[in-house]
Amino acid sequence: MTTEPTQLQPFVESFDPARSGLPGAGLGWLKALRKTGIERFEALGLPTPKLEAWKYTRLKPLEDTRYQPVTDEDGMAALNTVPSLLPDPGGRPRLVFVNGWMRPNFWIVGDLPDGVHLESLHDVLETRPDWIRERLGTLAGEDDSSLVQLNTAMMDTGFVLRVEDGVRVETPIEVIFVGGLTAHPVAYSPRNLIVLGKGAEATVVRYHVGLGAGAYFANSVTEIDVGPGALFRNYKVQAEALEATHIDTVRARVARDATYESFSLSIGGRLSRNEVSVRLEGEGAHCALNGAYLMRGSEHCDNTTQIDHLVPHTTSREVFKGVLDDESRAVFVGRIVVHKDAQKTDGYQLCKTLLLSTGAEIDVKPELEIYADDVKCSHGATTGQMDETALFYLRSRGVPEALARNLLVQSFIGEVLEEISDEDVRRAITDQVVHWLPAACYLAEEWRAE
């Protein structure tokens, strides 16, 4: 425990609630919120594997790297083309952040229907301070994790999406976070807020992509409030740079008859942790929490999720699949809690991992905590290597080995990609998966020349 204060120092030292570049620097309540955040963070310290919730993940990069806040120069780093996940944005709404900095010149907010408000955190703090005051920190609050506290103290960027009652946004909104374009290690803390009114509908795709080789620590928090009968799709692709540490906390609340669907693809970053919790607060609420992780090298990826069934008649479905190569390591912790009297809960969870290499490691902890009797809950977890019989089957039909291996990885991951209900996004994410695979087609060429 004696080493902790020095680990916290860089963060605490660089904390200044009145820093001029911070959004809402002039708001007294926000200053107080930030101050509470840093105090709580200091009290809690950085998470260590001694905490049950961090048993399998050690924040090594935070122990041995000194991250600086982003400077103007970092934030304005040159960006020639925007690395969009979805093809040809056309009129598709799109926000772009570089090294945590807003880059409004790349933004497209054009085609949104009336009643949809997509703005930066800066702007909303300026234009609707009372509205946001009521909402910020309600889902990721004072008693949340230490990294949420750090984000609350440091939040320096982010977006706010507000969809009014009954308004539906057809096209996915893409939010791109570009990282890695700095010469020295930087830290930034995006804070996003998404509020869907009654019967509203929207889809957000967050694309966290590393372009340069610089080290960075991105500590995002997103609070999501899905109103009665609303439908929110939350997609995320994490293709961070080799030296990135990516912490992404999502806290969602789902009201009566509303649906929260999410998919998270992790394919890059030295260390990543996706910590998601969803509260099903109204009858008829449903959540689908899906994801895939494809890791190689010495990457470490942690998906820690919790679904709380708080009232009767709520359902959840969770499918995660992973492929681990080289010395990579992944963690999946999935907790389903059925609270007292939350009868007729239906919860399903599955986590499957394919180990491609001898050095890879997977740690899984699916967890059911159930305090109501009339429920149907199940989870399953498997780990194993590639099915040799299937491999032989493909090869015996003439498919070259490298391609056959790719096909089987695709087959394995494909099942979970089916869970993505938005077709454009599914296609884009499938492409990411295919790109992650070794270049088998070239191998096939070589093979032909033989």
Binding site: D387, E388, T389, A390, F392, Y393, L394, R395, S396, R397, G398, V399, P400, E401, L403, A404, L407, L408, Q410, S411, F412, I413, G414, E415, E418, A444, R448
Partner: protein, 249 residues
């Protein structure tokens, strides 16, 4: 077409095949019969090049070439097709995609142009129709949720599309009702050609009522115990395998 000479094969140190000799000429259909566990599937796997089998002696010559050491996909490209006794389920990979990949890989091997999606789908539909395979089965993932009979028909469809030189059918008749068996037999008979050979592995003679073999071999104790014409199958049907020291299952 296929010359097997004194083939010895072990699995995990246990000798399974103990000196198989077999010679199949182009255009011929041979039936290999034998009790359960006699090594029939082992023989088919070894010809197709599956890992995990140790060839402790002998050789497999296919079209004048020793197959030893060749990868299964190369053997497939050279025209060897195995209809599996237990076809494998591959969730998430559509039948169509899979077959197109396979066919084009084989075409590439021979320096032929790949078929585009349109050409391929057209051909696949035709073949499927001939075999009475419904469209939706083509779109579904490979063998996933197929009944036993559907799986076997799917194997024959793949055979029809990949157009092999040497087809090996491992217990393709088991689990089929009489109508399905007729369809499978018709598929095989339609493919009968002077340059193609077929090995039919079975332990009932039923299928041989519909596909008339040129030769019948009895495999037991890891060796071909007897060879003969199609009448041998009938004899076996009557007497069982008792003569070879094992009961038919």
């Amino acid at each position: 077409m296929l010359e097997i000479k004194n083939l010895h094969v072990s699995v995990e140190g246990k000798a399974i095949l103990k000196g198989i000799d077999l010679s199949v000429q182009p255009g011929e259909i041979h039936a290999i019969m034998g009790p359960n566990g006699s090594g029939k599937s082992t023989l088919s796997h070894v010809i197709a090049g599956r890992d995990g089998y140790e060839i402790t002696g002998g050789r497999i010559i296919y079209q004048g070439e020793d197959l030893t050491g060749l990868a299964p996909e190369i053997r497939a490209a050279k025209g060897i097709f195995l209809a599996f006794q237990y076809p494998v389920e591959i969730p998430g990979v559509a039948n169509t995609t899979f077959l197109k990949e396979a066919l084009n890989a084989i075409r590439r091997y021979h320096g032929e142009d790949e078929l585009d999606a349109m050409q391929f789908v057209k051909m696949m539909r035709e073949k499927a129709k001939e075999l009475g395979i419904p469209e939706d089965m083509l779109k579904r993932a490979v063998n996933v949720g197929f009944s036993g009979g559907e799986k076997k028909r799917n194997e024959i469809l793949q055979m029809a599309i990949l157009n092999p030189r040497l087809a090996i059918l491992d217990e393709t008749d088991s689990g089929l009702d009489i109508d399905a068996m007729k369809i499978v037999a018709e598929g095989v008979n339609n493919m009968r050609a002077p340059e193609r050979s077929t090995l039919i592995i079975t332990h009932y003679q039923r299928l041989l009522d519909y596909i008339i073999p040129d030769k019948v071999h009895v495999l037991a104790h890891g060796r071909i115990q007897r060879s003969g014409g199609k009448e041998l199958a009938l004899e076996l049907e009557e007497k069982g395998y008792a003569e070879f020291g094992e009961a038919a299952a």
